[in-house]
């Protein structure tokens, strides 16, 4: 989850919590308030009625031989009643009570007050329907809820937009400095514009780190160049010397054989050094990937290159790359080496009269190229170590250095190609190369 989303979510949740708290706490508070205000109103009305009675006499309400007075407003929300009562203890209460009004039971908040007027005692009751109080309360609660809900939604959206704007430099740093920085050689050191100190600090720290990485990368690059020169030069000297010795006609047969053996050792050393340097160079991105390579064409070229070896071992090679697939941003030479090494192994570990199939087909998320052979297969326990350097597995070939597949893996990694190996001992092996879609 994005930081801005988390911030906004937290704010939204905290607001919702406050909202729920308000919605939970407000009603009792509101109803208490409504009760107090109703009671006050009733008390005021009582005083008003008593003033009227003091000023105009009781006859204003109770006339002649009547013993009581009652009045309801139109919707029966309020009533006032005055009736003569026998003498007794004084009454002065406000309480809820149900009253039957025209076949309807209505709940009222009723102020009951007894007083003496001359020789007679009267009970004044002023009531206000609690229904109207509840309704006020309900309305208030509903409006409050909606208003708060809208407020939460609006402020959450505002937060989201603001956090997005605020964090934009952060995402730019991630994109430019980390995600799109494929290789130290192509680092972009342009400062990312931001007014936030924290992001500026992050950007500066990352740029410092990139400078360090680039320096060590350059150092390694130089080391590879120096190492290849320093290692290969004495080997070249040995090789030239053996070449010259071989052309010496006075050399005995015994010594000739010794020279040939030495030459083979030099060749072995040379191949190992060159292979290791190649892996190192690939890992250091010293091979430009600027070509679009057709797999159909590549398969045809590799097949052409191994024709004579196939003939010697009486092997048949079939190729079917339908439809063709073009690998973008690739290094043709490296892809050739990758496929050539796989096909070389398919030849080397095949049986007399065996088959090799190069099959290309679309696959989910891209394309798959398969190098299948009918050779001796690979032992199950050998499979996990297949691409390890210098792991010769079960091969008895004295000229195998266990680097061919290591180079294959390195080239595949560079091009984002996934490799899968299936093998059944005695039946054959299949290398599947998954090329990601363009």
């Amino acid at each position: 989850m994005k930081l801005s989303t988390k911030f906004s979510l937290f704010n939204a949740l905290s607001r919702v919590a406050i909202l729920l708290l308000l919605v939970g706490v407000l009603p009792p508070v509101m109803s208490q308030l409504a009760l107090v205000s109703t009671d006050n109103r009733l008390a005021q009305k009582k005083e008003k009625v008593l003033r009227l009675i003091r000023r105009n006499g009781i006859s204003t309400f109770i006339e002649g031989d009547q013993s009581s007075y009652g009045s309801y407003n139109l919707l029966k929300e309020e009533f006032i009643s005055l009736e003569e009562i026998p003498p007794g203890p004084r009454i002065d209460v406000i309480e809820d009570s149900k009253r039957a009004v025209e076949d309807e039971i209505v709940e009222y908040r009723v102020l009951s007050y007894s007083f003496a007027q001359g020789p007679k005692y009267y009970l004044l009751e002023i009531g206000r329907s609690t229904g109207s109080i509840d309704e006020t309360e309900r309305n208030f609660r509903t409006y409050a809820f909606y208003i708060l809900l809208v407020a939460v939604a609006l402020t959450t959206l505002a937060d989201l937009a603001f956090f997005r704007y605020l964090l934009e430099p952060f995402y730019t740093i991630i994109r430019q400095r980390l995600k799109n920085a494929h290789h130290p050689a192509a680092f972009n050191f342009t400062p990312i514009p931001t007014s936030t100190d924290d992001f500026r600090y992050l950007d500066e720290s990352l740029r410092e780190m990139m400078t360090t990485i680039q320096a060590s990368f350059s150092k390694e690059r130089k080391f590879i160049a120096d190492a290849s020169h320093e290692l290969l030069t004495p080997l070249a000297a040995l090789q030239y010397r053996f070449d010259n010795m071989l052309s010496d006609e006075s050399l005995s047969d015994e010594n000739l054989l010794r020279v040939v053996e030495s030459q083979r050792t030099v060749h072995r050393l040379r191949t190992i050094i060159k292979s290791l340097l190649m892996i190192s160079k690939i890992e250091n991105d010293q091979f430009p990937r600027t070509e679009s390579v057709s797999l159909g064409q590549l398969v045809a070229e590799v097949s052409e290159e191994v024709q004579d070896r196939l003939a010697v071992l009486n092997l048949s090679l079939s190729q079917e790359v339908q439809p063709d697939f073009v690998v973008p941003a690739a290094n043709r030479g490296l892809l050739f080496t990758l496929l050539f090494n796989l096909v070389s192994n398919a030849i080397k570990y095949n049986r007399e009269g065996g088959q090799i199939m190069l099959l290309g087909r679309p696959a989910p998320g891209g394309y798959v190229l398969e190098v299948r052979d009918t050779g001796r297969g690979i032992r199950k326990e050998q499979l996990p170590r297949l691409f390890h350097r210098f792991d010769k597995g079960s091969t008895t070939d004295p000229d195998s250095y266990g680097l061919g597949l290591s180079i294959v893996r390195t080239i595949a990694d560079l091009h984002g190609i996934r490799i899968e190996v299936n093998s059944i001992e005695g039946l054959g092996t299949s290398f599947l190369l998954f090329f990601p879609a363009q």
């Binding site: 020169h229 070249a236 000297a237 040939v260 060749h267 061919g404």
Partner: protein
């Protein structure tokens, strides 16, 4: 033919000199970029074998300058640096060929011969081998004017042996010539043996191939 060997490693320069001298080339050695510039300014050479990692500069700079001064010599870059940019840069600057160290000396000679044929037109149209003739230009083997059908690799093996006639060519040298520098190319002398066997079979149907000798445990020789 005259050759300028630009190489700072004393041993390498000496071995190269010995080999080329045996092949009737006249060699001069320059150990620094400065020496190379001096020699190139003084003497017209047929070939320049140029190492790139010189103690006082880059061989590519020497090449660029020499080309500006209308260098006519054929240039082969010999380097252990092996960076792709070097190869591309060298060829772009007008080098005729590029060999990554270490290479076999017969391979160097083969390249020099190829350049000679290409650049100076100093090729014999046909090279004799027994009752056969090799046409290196058109890559054909002829017997009494008729073409003998050979595979690409068979022709390569035969022409290499003929080019270095009377010298033992080890299986390794032949393999390197045919397969080049592909890593883990699966050096396997069996392939060379198989090609020789096929050549003997094909040529033996038409004439005697005694001149194509096997040197036990070492390799093959075209005794001509």
């Amino acid at each position: 033919m005259t050759v300028l060997i630009v190489e700072d490693e004393r041993t390498l320069a000496r071995e190269l000199g010995i080999f080329l001298h045996q092949q009737n080339f006249t060699c001069t050695v320059a150990r620094t970029a400065r020496e190379a510039r001096t020699h190139l300014a003084d003497t017209p050479f047929d070939f320049v074998l140029l190492d790139l990692g010189l103690p006082d500069g880059d061989g590519l700079d020497v090449l660029a300058e020499a080309k500006q001064n209308d260098l006519t010599a054929a240039v082969i870059i010999l380097t252990a640096r092996g960076a792709v940019e070097d190869r591309i840069g060298g060829l772009e600057l007008g080098a005729d060929d590029y060999l990554a160290k270490p290479f076999s000396l017969p391979e160097l000679l083969a390249r020099m011969h190829a350049i000679t044929r290409r650049r100076f037109g100093l090729h014999k149209p046909l090279v004799g081998c027994g009752a056969f003739e090799l046409d290196l230009q058109t890559r054909r083997l002829l017997h009494q004017g008729q073409e003998v059908s050979l595979s690409v690799k068979e022709f390569d093996v035969l022409s290499y042996l003929v080019l270095h006639k009377n010298r033992v060519m080890t299986r390794l040298q032949l393999t390197e010539h045919i397969w080049g520098n592909l890593p883990e190319a699966g050096f396997d002398s069996n392939y060379i043996d198989a090609h020789i066997k096929n050549l003997r079979k094909k040529l033996g149907l038409l004439a005697d191939v005694e001149w194509l000798e096997t040197v036990r445990g070492v390799g093959y020789r075209a005794r001509l």
